[in-house]
């Protein structure tokens, strides 16, 4: 790659539209591209996705590479990596960004090794160094106990970005951009994996990632029964119910409810942590919340170090009167 210029983002799709993560990357990528005085390109791949190119332009892209192929209907490492490799070689970018999603976290390391480039995963801050013009990539390490800032030694500079780190721009249909169609060029005989099916584990109620209020329980809930009391509060607050890791590992609640470094990353307006001690790996999944409330019987628990409001005591005595009072105030 002779000269590396421009920012390329992978715009993932969800239910036939650009995903929320894609819109965030378009917004954040636009900012980085403007700072460098370079162009922002979006890559959209899948089956029947060509119509989404104008959306990507309206949300900030100067150029959109579309790769439309039935073989790209479902994500598979074996199909997406070679296609992304082809697009990146064509675009010869300075920076490649993807979301820290099921796709990004699988695709980026493999692509980075193929391109002999470096990558930083799950970044929570991306800035252009004013002097070197290099991308400074900051991510949580040691289960969220520390942060580390990296720069790439080779180009393209690659990173995945945690959800809600970047902000989407408002849609602007007056924006103009170029659409480039790329042929996937996949040889089906070389695909060594087979996508059998996707099994959805629907959580009843509001989705964690979208919720404005999240009520989470930890080991202190004691058992699956304990979460029923959380659901009552969640019902009153129209909140999603989450969990730290121990209740998921114990099987009290499904793994899809886990908030934390290896679960979901949330940043609601209000996060209520009940019976959660505050292990770094949980904190790193919710510390972006605007207001954090902690209810824990241990006054020394780590969760109180990140919480804005706290009550020390047994949740069994605190939750019912709290839920009752909230109901009264909202009623």
């Amino acid at each position: 790659m002779a000269e590396n210029k421009g920012v390329v983002i992978l715009a993932e799709t969800l239910d036939g539209k650009l995903s929320p993560a894609a819109l965030e990357l378009l917004g954040g990528g636009r900012g980085l591209a403007d700072e460098l005085g370079e162009e922002l390109s979006a890559v959209i791949m899948g089956s029947g996705i060509a119509g989404l190119a104008q959306d990507a332009i309206a949300y900030g892209a100067d150029r959109v590479y579309t790769v439309d192929d039935p073989l790209l209907k479902d994500y598979q490492t074996e199909t997406y990596v070679p296609v992304m490799e082809k697009v990146v070689k064509e675009a010869s970018p300075n920076i490649v960004l993807m979301g820290q999603t099921a796709i990004g976290r699988d695709l980026v390391p493999r692509l980075a090794f193929r391109l002999e480039a470096g990558a930083s995963m799950d970044c929570i801050r991306l800035e252009i160094d004013p002097e070197t013009k290099l991308l400074k990539q900051t991510r949580a390490v040691y289960g969220g106990n520390a942060l580390a800032t990296y720069v790439s030694e080779v180009k393209p500079q690659m990173a995945t970005v945690r959800a809600k780190v970047m902000d989407a721009l408002p849609r602007d249909d007056s924006r103009k951009g170029e659409v480039v169609t790329i042929d996937a060029g996949l040889d089906p005989s070389k695909i060594r994996t087979k996508f059998i099916e996707k099994v959805k584990e629907e959580v009843v109620g509001i989705k964690l990632e979208d919720a404005d209020v999240v009520v989470s329980g930890g080991r202190g809930m004691g058992d699956a029964e304990g979460f029923k009391e959380l659901e009552k509060l969640a019902g009153v607050l129209r909140a999603a119910v989450g969990s730290s890791r121990p209740p998921c590992d114990q099987g009290w609640v499904p793994a899809s409810m886990q908030v934390g470094l290896t679960g979901k990353i949330v940043s609601p307006t209000l996060y209520i942590a009940v019976g959660i001690s505050g292990a770094a790996q949980h904190i790193s999944g919710m510390s972006g919340s605007k207001n954090i409330v902690a209810i824990n019987k241990d006054a020394e628990a780590n969760i109180f170090k990140v919480a804005h409001y706290g009550v020390v005591g047994d949740w069994k005595k605190i939750l019912p009167p709290f839920t009752e009072k909230v109901k009264e105030l909202l009623g």
Partner: protein, 261 residues
């Protein structure tokens, strides 16, 4: 089957013991806290053991690091693995993801034929999550990441891969590489019999030269500029009351007052 397992500082150690040396960009190991095998790597071994339980086969574990405690790394053999390979060489210490994957891939090539390589989804220290995919790329084999269930079915490997709203079922040809997530479930504890048997199982120690790696040619692709602990500003406002019930009600009132609810 091959399992890659890394010895790390115990991630469950109390947060108060966590200290960084900002000048050296290194974490200071807490005194008196035993290192452990990265929990995701123990789950990777558990995935391999479940296949061994069901269909037989052998499991070879590879660990790379410095000052690996025999009591820690032998746990993989006590759990049920058959052979242990330790790559201990100061020249290979503290490598970034890129070089780690090259060194492990070189060791795997030296070991020879295999059906499946299991890795943890990420090491629970640097949390990079790149080495597994990197090894697969270097060896030119397919990979499936973040598995919660792995079965061998008719000569292929069937994987349930965790995604945001459920899981995907993917079948992959062998040889392949699978990274395993915590959703797989708790790894087994070594039994007394397992611990006794581990002492008789073969352990091989290799240097960089033994696996044909020239450390001077391992060039990092990223550079660590700064390792730091972010100060948490602000303090927690504790709700009080005559009774605990009153404190609970005061919390609701306070949240209303600041217009959070």
């Amino acid at each position: 089957m091959i399992v890659c397992a890394k010895q790390i500082q115990d991630p469950e150690a109390p947060p108060a013991t966590f200290k960084v040396d900002p000048a050296a960009n290194k974490v200071i190991p807490p005194a008196g806290v035993e290192p452990v095998i990265s929990p995701f790597d123990e789950q990777a071994e558990e995935a391999a053991l479940r296949i061994k339980d069901a269909q037989g086969g052998t499991i070879k574990v590879i660990s790379m690091g410095l000052e690996m405690k025999r009591t820690v790394v032998l746990k993989s053999l006590s759990m049920g693995a058959d052979e242990l390979y330790l790559i201990e060489d100061p020249a290979l210490a503290g490598l970034a993801s890129f070089s780690t994957a090259y060194a492990l891939a070189a060791a795997i090539k030296k070991i020879g034929e295999f059906d499946v390589i299991f890795c943890g989804r990420q090491a629970a220290d640097w949390d990079a999550g790149q080495v597994g995919s990197g090894i697969a790329e270097i060896l030119g084999i397919p990979s499936v990441t973040v598995a919660k269930k792995v079965d061998a079915v008719d000569g292929r490997i069937r994987v349930e891969r965790v995604v945001a709203d459920g899981y995907e079922v993917i079948e992959v040809e062998t040889p392949c590489l699978i990274t395993v997530s915590n959703e797989l479930g708790e790894p087994r504890y070594p039994t007394m019999k397992g611990i006794m048997a581990a002492k008789k199982k073969p352990t091989t120690v290799w240097s960089a030269q033994d696996i044909g790696v020239d450390p001077s040619k391992l060039q990092a692709r990223t550079k660590l500029l700064k390792l730091f602990v972010e100060e948490r500003v602000g303090k927690c406002e504790m709700m009080e009351g005559e009774t605990i019930e009153e404190a609970a009600a005061n919390l609701a009132l306070r949240l209303r007052e600041v217009k959070v609810i």
